[in-house]
Amino acid sequence: DASDGRVKIGILNDQSGVYADFGGKSSYEAALMAVEDFGGKVLGVPVEVVTADHQNKPDIASNIARQWYDTEQVDSIMELTTSSVALAVQAISKEKKKIDIVTGAATTELTGKQCSPYGFHWAYDTHSLAVGTGGALVKQGGDSWFFLTADYAFGYSLEENTANYVKENGGSVVGAVRHPLATTDFSSFLLQAQSSGAKVIGLANAGLDTSNAIKQAAEFGIVQGGQRLAALLFTLAEVHGLGLEAAQGLTLTEGFYWNRNEETAKFGKRFMERTGKMPNMTHAGTYSAVLQYLKAIEKAGSDDADAVAKELHALPVNDVFAQNGTVAPNGRMIHDMYLLEVKKPEESKEPWDYFKVLATIPGKDAFMDPAKSGCELVKS
C-alpha cells in the first residue's frame, strides 16, 4: 500500500521560458485530468499533483527534484522539458530510487547510455521524429533532402537520424547547412536550400528557430516553388502560433493529434475547456503517463518504486494517447506516431483544425530497437 498515506506526483517543466507553450502550465492540467479520470484515489489514498517551473535551468530543476523527493514525499516526477533537465532529474531519480517519466524532452540518451530502471520516456524522441518525417516522406516521393540544422547536438542528432532514414528508404541528401542557435534571419540559408533543388527541406531545429524559418520560407515562395518543408520537431502549439497562412503545407510528426478520431476529439475538447487550447503530444503524453503510473500502482498494490517500475514495464498502454503501447526494458514507451501535414487555411473547418494525417508510423518502426540503444538494462 501507499507508504505515507498519499501518492504525490510532481510535474516539473518550463512554465515561463521558451518551452512554456510546448507543455507548461497546461501539462499540469493534463495531469489533474488524468487523476480525476482515475478517480482521484489509488489504493484508497488520495493522489496529489504538485508542479514547479524549472526555468530551463538544470540546477534549479535538480534542486526542486531533490527537495521534492527528500522533504515533500513526492513519489514520481513527470514531463521534464529540455534534455539537460531531463537527464539531470533522471540521474537524481535513479539515485533516490524514484520513478520519472519524461514526456517533454527529445534526447534518446534517456533510454540509451543514461537509462535508468526507474526512468521512462513516454511521448516522443529524436529517433521517432526522424523516422516519422524522414522515412515516411521519402515513401511519398520526397527523395532528395536539404537540411537546415541548428548548430548544436540536438540539431545534429535530428539531422543524422533523419538522413539515415532518408537514405535507408532510397532517398538522398543533397546538402545541409548548419545555422547558429537563435538565428533570426534564415533567408541566406533558405536561398541556399532553394538553389539546391532538393525536394524536401528538413528543418532540424526547434522552437522559434523553426517558426522563423517556416515564416521566411513562405516569404521567399519556397513552398509555392514546389519544395516541401519538413519540420522535425514541431507541434500543434507552434503551428497555432505561426498561423496556417505561413505554416500550410508543412510536414511534421507528432505522437498525438486531437482531431484524429472521436475519442481524441473528446479529450481535446475537455482539455480546451480547461486550458483554452488544444493539447499537443506533450500534454496528451503527460496525461497518459500519469494515468499509466496510477494504473501501475494499483496493479502493484503499492507505491514502492521497484514494484511500480516492474508493473510499468509489464502493463500495456491503452488510453487516448497510445493504443497497445508497450514499454521496452530501457524505459522507452513504444507507440504509434503520426505523420501530419498542415492544412491550407481554406481547408481548416474549425479552430485548431490544423492537420491532415498523412500516415501512421507503427511504434516498432518509430522507435529505436532497444537492443541497439546502448542501455545496459537491455542485455541483462
Binding site: 547558429p180 533570426t184 534571419d185 541566406s188 540559408f189 541556399q192 522563423n212 516569404e219 515562395g221 507552434e238
Partner: protein, 295 residues
Amino acid sequence: MTTIFGIPIQAFLGQLLIGLINGSFYALLSLGLAIIFGLLRVINFAHGAQYMLGAFTAWLLLSHFGIGYWPALIVAPLLVGLLGAVIERTMLRRLYSLDPLYGLLFTFGLALTVEGTFRYLYGASGQPYATPALLAGGTNLGFMFLPIYRGWVIAFSLAVCLGTWLVIEKTKLGSYLRAATENPVLVQSFGINVPFLLTLTYGLGAALAALAGVLAAPIYQVSPLMGSNIIIIVFAVVVVGGMGSIMGAIITGYMLGVAEGLTKVFYPEASNIVIFVIMAIVLLIRPAGLFGRDA
C-alpha cells in the same frame, strides 16, 4: 558561370542583398541605442524589449482593433515612445547623477520585467503577423527572388536613419541634446528646458526601436524573445561603431549585416560570432571603435 570565392556570383549578390536587409535592422536598432547612449549616457538594455514591444503593439493593434500595418507604423512607435518617456520621467531620470552602470542595470531589470510579462501573457512561441497586401509578393532580380517587403525595409530604414542623423547632428536641437548630456545643469542655466529634452530623447530612442519592431513583425515571429536575441549583437555593433557616434552606429550596422550575411555562405557555423570576432579585432586596433572619438 562566373564565381567569386568559389560561389556563383549570383548567389553572392543575393547574399549581399540579404546582409543589407539584416543590416537595416542592426542600423535602426543601434541608431536608437547610440542616441540614448550618446545623449543620456545610458546603455539601454531595454532596447530589445522596446523593439519587441513595437512588434507586439502592431500585432495587438491588428488582432484587437483591426488596425493594420500602415497606421501601426506610426501608432506603435508613438505608443512605445510615450511609454519610454513615462519611464524616463518617473524612474530613469533619478539615475543620471550616478555612475552610468546604474542605468545599465536598471534597464536590464526593465527588459526582464517587460519580456517576462509578455511571455506570461502571450507565451513564448510567437504570433503571426501578415505582410501588408501592398508589399506582398516578390520580384525576380535575376540573381535572386527578392520579396518586395524586404526591399521596402532597406529603403525605409535608410531614410529613417539618415533623417534622424540629420536632426541630431545638424540642428540646434541636436546640439542642445549633446550638450545636455555633458552638463545638464549648465545647459539648463542657459535657459534650455533640459529635463524635457532628455525625456524626449529617451522617447525617441524607444520609438526608433519600436519602429524596427513593426518593420520586423511581418518577417519574424512576433515573440517576447525576439528582442533579447538581437540586443547583444546590436551592442556589439555599437561598440564596433564607436559608442556615442551616431553615424558610426548606422554605417557599422549595415556593414556588419553584410559581413554576417557573407559569413553565412562561407562558414555558417561562425555567423553568430563573426560580429564578436570583428569586435575583438577592432578593439585591438582602434579601442574607441571605428568611428568613435577618443575619450
